[in-house]
Symmetry: C2
């Protein structure tokens, strides 16, 4: 029986304001929980707090978008839960810094929903209507018409069928776009017209009007969009990246745009972020870059993250398997 | 009783290919008509045909996006119908070149439908997510985040409740955006949450998240979006123009963007088209220009125009009131 849980919340100095978490946010999440009361103290700190190591030493659980790994490894003996506010955790791997007693959980699923679905609809419509072409033409003071009919009936090949991929598929569905999901194993996933394995997807590439990435960055997916894949895409087909910059060989993407092979591309993620000031990425033709926020909903992010955290605190106490737990 | 109707179809040298009308297109439209057979000969010509005046002299009806007014006035004695392929006819006014016996009809309604509704959804989503800001930032090699939640519940003030305005409202409705329509007279229009008169709309301006133009260009609407109107809009509110460039005081629009007052603007029409190569319009911050095609659906435009034409040919023969007829 745990008397009182000590929760340490980490905010980061450069973090956007709506994503900073306050004690009040945590207490509101506790009130929302159907589980009843939980003895909890909340310690909210900035990651550059000089006394952070001491705070870690007495914490039972820690929540943040990133973590001071050396301090946690050295001082986090009491930690039972390390909960990230992020869905993608490539920046935290390998998890060799976790204390032996600490479980680790992600905020997977927190991005699913209206905001990302709307963003996906916008991306499909912008690509289909040739908006990247018009934007490039405007930059060059050129008026260059390219006509398009309705997007209905076009086909999107969506790599990744997790929370992000499902929200993108929901956007495609609202526009009448066929949704082919790609994942490691065959089967079916709600919201997708069909599921293909990676090999099957490679064969399907020439039939896709849109190729969309929503898959985690792993050693297997690193540079998965390379020269060969872009070449297999149909001339005039479109590309969007909702995942991670390193999924893409950026030089190959720039070449596929410069040659005129790709119709257009919209990427919410780059390598690095932001691109270097003199990177050719900024000026590549028919390439639209947004600053990694397609799935960030300032209205729902913090409550959703905290609902996962509070649920996991109950599960830690009850010895139940965690939500979104990840084996190290 | 008319023996055989002679239809003259005018195509223009600079016209986009999907909008060129062939004899076959006309005969297919005749086949689609529920009205039965119609004795018709079809003469398809380019507007720079040296023998055009002779063709006009023997035509019963003429179809085109624009017309050789002097020739029609001088030689079109036999014309019973002048049918435009356009919905907006500001470029044809005043109609003092029409022969006395010729009725005049527009292609009003031809733009209503899926293509324009999808374009409107894209415009609302691009404005709401700050895409014009990201596009300007990319041009300057800057990574500048601005977060947005779902667009649901925002309010659009849509000037014009005709075919174009209704298609835009349908797009707004699919995104859960409130649709306030503006027209000369009070009342209600299907697809709009409310209807305001011009004066009421002026009072409502500070409450609108989006101000959208879809109204014809007339002496009353010329420069209707001026410094006063932009100033009344809420800081950060957005603007879109689906109508005509001359509805807008472009200098006032550029100033409202440069001052930071307007969140962003997307205009499908400019004055002139294209803007002059050194126009400040090309480089204004958070302004996206598309080359006058938001409502042009290459898949449906020609069949829809011809369905109106064929129906009007039957009505000319039968002495019935024309569809989309306009009094001179």
């Amino acid at each position: 029986m745990i008397s009182t849980l000590r929760l340490l919340v980490l905010n980061f100095p450069g973090q956007s304001e709506p994503f900073r978490i306050t004690e009040r946010n945590v207490l509101e999440a506790l009130d929302r929980s159907p589980r009843g009361s939980l003895p909890l103290t909340v310690d909210v700190r900035l990651a550059d707090d000089p006394n952070l190591a001491e705070a870690i030493a007495v914490a039972d659980a820690i929540l943040g978008p990133d973590f001071p790994r050396a301090d946690i490894k050295a001082r986090g003996k009491q930690l039972k839960l390390v909960q990230t506010t992020a869905a993608g955790i490539d920046h935290l791997l390998p998890l060799d810094w976790l204390p032996p007693a600490a479980a680790f959980a992600t905020a997977n699923g927190v991005h699913e929903g209206a905001k990302l679905t709307e963003w996906a609809m916008m991306v499909f419509l912008m690509l289909h209507t040739q908006m990247p072409h018009f934007i490039t033409a405007q930059r060059e003071h050129r008026w260059s018409r390219r006509l398009s009919a309705s997007v209905k009936g076009k086909t999107a090949l969506i790599y990744g069928t997790g929370a992000v991929g499902r929200s993108i598929a929901a956007g495609a569905e609202r526009l009448g776009i066929e949704r082919i999901g790609v994942r490691r194993s065959a089967g079916s996933v709600a919201g997708f017209s069909r599921i293909l394995t990676m090999d099957e997807a490679h064969a399907f590439l020439p039939q896709a009007d849109f190729v969309v990435l929503a898959t985690p960055l792993t050693p297997e997916t690193h540079n998965m969009m390379n020269r060969d894949v872009f070449t297999r895409m149909s001339p005039g087909a479109h590309f969007a990246n909702f995942g991670r910059g390193r999924l893409v060989d950026q030089q190959a993407l720039v070449e596929a745009l410069e040659s005129g092979h790709l119709g257009g591309a919209i990427v919410d993620v780059t390598t690095p972020e932001p691109p270097d000031p003199d990177s050719p990425f900024w000026d590549a033709p028919r390439l639209v870059i947004t600053p990694h926020l397609s799935s960030d909903d300032p209205a729902s992010h913090v409550p959703r993250v905290l609902d996962i955290l509070i649920e996991n605190l109950y599960r830690v106490i009850g010895g139940e398997p965690l939500k979104n737990s990840l084996q190290r």
